[in-house]
């Protein structure tokens, strides 16, 4: 088995699916000759040619809008948006069409499309290159939202996303694109959409997160373990549809829940989880459900990004709070 990074696992997934099914095509800005600005499509242009690995003009609405119809026409497009902040020009196509074509045509037209992009902060990037827009997509019925946190899941989830009959927003945590190397099987395999993973078992408190924040939770749990607090960590993996059952079961065990994400607090995915947890686990709760998130501000330029991003320190102090409650 090869040891791959997340970005290599993404490429590997694309490669597997392209080799297997010629309906799969990749398109976007600089994905072809250049292999993508993060090299997520590196080598695919050489291998599959310009008709399947397509450098498009610079227009996100154009990329997504045409991909929707290519999907409806029977292809399986995997569109890359270069950065999180540049999904915004494509929102109209995603919200108004990708998410609704199936419903609008009562199943006659469907959109088996994947839109993948790097997201989140922590890489000293420019403005609009640090966004965590998962709430917008999750709030839009008809879209699925998938966020891996490690190489194995990245490959398996992306393959599932490509095979899924509905539009999937696939958000890749760019901060840890190359931070972790892990064993990834060479052949194709799937990690099912809609299933959370317990990445660490514990008894005192459940830390729920996704993407790059899973690693921050793990660091926190390591530190706290030495001090005698046992954290269970849930990697949500698919925000929509979300595997609430795994989350409830964990909280019924620990009685405490902390949700961690980079996106702003208000109406972030943590708000949905907190609401559901109190609806379903009220009597198991020993403390209020807390959220450690970005602030309700634009993501700051990089000199201050570490003030904004949830850190092990901020997560630890939330854990302390619920433990003391």
């Amino acid at each position: 088995m090869a040891k791959l990074t997340i970005v290599e696992a993404v490429k590997d997934a694309l490669d597997c699916e392209m080799a297997k099914d010629e309906r799969v095509i990749v398109l976007g800005e600089d994905v072809g000759v250049d292999g993508g600005v993060f090299r997520a499509t590196d080598g695919l242009y050489k291998k599959y040619g310009k008709r399947r690995v397509i450098d498009t003009p610079l227009a996100e609405s154009g990329i997504v809008g045409t991909s929707i119809a290519m999907a409806a026409a029977g292809l399986l497009p995997v569109a890359e948006i270069q950065f999180d902040g540049f999904t915004y020009p494509a929102l109209d196509q995603l919200f108004s069409h990708a998410a609704r074509l199936r419903n609008r045509s009562r199943g006659r037209y469907t959109v088996p499309l994947v839109v993948r992009f790097p997201f989140g902060g922590g890489i000293r990037a420019l403005e609009h290159h640090n966004e965590s827009p998962e709430t917008y997509f999750t709030h839009t019925p008809g879209l699925k939202v998938v966020i891996p946190s490690n190489p194995y899941d990245a490959k398996g989830l992306l393959i599932s996303a490509i095979r899924d009959p509905d539009p999937v927003i696939f958000m890749e945590p760019k901060r840890i694109y190359r931070a972790i190397r892990a064993e990834v099987p060479e052949k194709d395999y799937t990690v099912p959409l809609g299933k959370a993973a317990i990445t660490r078992e514990g008894t005192d408190v459940t830390l729920i997160s996704y993407g790059a924040m899973v690693r921050e939770c793990t660091k926190t749990a390591d530190t706290l373990a030495a001090k005698g607090t046992s954290c269970e960590i849930i990697d949500v993996r698919t925000i929509s549809p979300c595997d609430y059952e795994t989350i409830y079961a964990s909280i019924q065990k620990t009685g405490r829940a902390i949700i961690v994400h980079e996106a702003p607090l208000t109406l972030g995915f943590g708000a949905e989880l907190a609401a559901r947890i109190q609806e379903n686990c009220l009597l198991s709760l020993k403390a209020p459900v807390l959220r450690v998130t970005g602030y309700d501000t634009p993501f700051p330029y990089f000199k201050l990004e570490n003030e904004y991003l949830p850190s092990p320190e901020r997560i630890s102090s939330a854990v302390e709070k619920v433990m003391k409650f």
């Binding site: 600089d30 600005v37 310009k50 227009a59 020009p89 000199k303």
Partner: protein, 356 residues
């Protein structure tokens, strides 16, 4: 029946050839001080770029977009603006900020990773760096429409890259400017590349390029807008075309689209590796056409350039820039300012988050 109901053409102008010879009929009437000022700005822009690149290499600023090779397009056009004409830049026209009156240190603060760098003085008529490409076209149009409604005799100058002309906002911006006959001028910096995607199509059957149009200037025609293509490495051509367009705009005679043809002789940004996609020979050929050399030859012929003056200019630029770097690096952004500028008045919730 069949007849031609319309025909179009696009004018191209070059005033200085690559050897610095001027076309006398087109040469703008600029005073010696003005010609020297144009050159001075170009020297400052190049020096700024070299310093910024060096700082990036040392990790003292973040990802940076170089401007070397595009000086004539940036300087020639901004030099043509009146003080109150508002400029709408993207991310490559660093000198536009300086020419419009922003302290140089602000640029280093900005590229060094702080919004504080875009807190420029009120009398500097320029919008902040705009990264989502093409979007600023609508702002250039909208501001001009407002100027018109307010009966102000000022115009706007908006920059977009060649690839940005593929965005929807670019087209909407041109159309709005045209239908409102707005006092707006749009500069396309055609440097031939998006990041790795070329401006020109070689495969006429399957993408991989930005536009099949023979010129980008002609995109204005579809909106009923005057358009022109100029040699973007010829500072006099850029200046003249922009000057005329701005005057026309201020007189109420509508917007203009100016395509400046230049070449990106640097990587796209410091994060880019152009050897993956760029042809060395074309790059070398374009390097020969770079804008400073040719203007220098022109000034020399006019007896306005000496080696001594060049040295003095470079020394002046270095001093200004070194001082700016020092000031920028002394600047420490404040955590509270993550919250301070989101609304006119901080909401109680933001106050809580700030203190929490």
């Amino acid at each position: 029946m069949e007849r031609t109901i319309n025909k179009f053409s696009v004018k191209y102008i070059q005033i200085l050839d690559e050897k610095g010879n001027a076309d006398k009929r087109l040469e703008p009437k600029l005073k010696p001080e003005q010609l020297k000022a144009l050159y001075r700005w170009m020297v400052i822009e190049r020096a700024f770029d070299a310093t910024a690149l060096a700082l990036q290499r040392e990790g003292r600023i973040g990802t940076y977009a170089q401007s070397t090779g595009e000086e004539a397009t940036h300087v020639g056009s901004v030099f043509a603006t009146a003080e109150n004409d508002m400029v709408f830049p993207d991310y490559r026209e660093h000198i536009a900020f300086i020419m419009k009156g922003a302290p140089i240190k602000n640029l280093f603060i900005h590229w060094g990773g702080s919004e504080d760098g875009m807190a420029i003085p009120d009398n500097a008529h320029i919008f902040p760096v705009c990264i989502p490409v093409g979007t600023q076209t609508l702002h250039g149009a909208g501001f001009a429409i407002a100027n018109k409604l307010k009966k102000e005799k000022t115009a706007t100058l908006t920059f977009v890259g060649d690839a940005s002309t593929s965005t929807g906002d670019f087209h909407e911006g041109l159309n709005f400017a045209a239908v409102f006959n707005a006092p707006a001028v749009f500069i396309i910096r055609n440097n031939h590349w998006a990041i790795s995607v070329p401006r020109v199509c070689t495969d006429l059957d399957w993408g991989g390029c930005q536009s099949r149009a023979e010129t980008l200037a002609q995109k204005g025609i579809g909106y009923g807008m005057d358009c022109i293509q100029v040699d973007g490495n010829d500072v006099l051509a850029v200046y003249s075309a922009t000057k005329q367009a701005l005057e026309k705009a201020r007189k109420g005679d509508g917007p203009t689209l100016i395509e400046c043809v230049t070449y990106r002789i640097t990587p796209h940004t410091t994060a880019d590796d152009p050897t993956r996609y760029q042809d060395e020979k074309t790059l070398k050929a374009w390097m020969q056409k770079e804008p400073l050399k040719r203007f220098q030859l022109y000034l020399k012929r006019k007896k306005l350039w000496t080696e001594e003056w060049q040295r003095a200019l470079e020394a002046e630029a270095k001093k200004l820039i070194d001082q700016a770097v020092k000031e920028a690096e002394a600047h420490k952004p404040k955590r509270d300012d993550i919250f301070s500028f989101v609304y006119a008045e901080m909401t109680p919730e933001l106050e809580r988050q700030k203190n929490g």
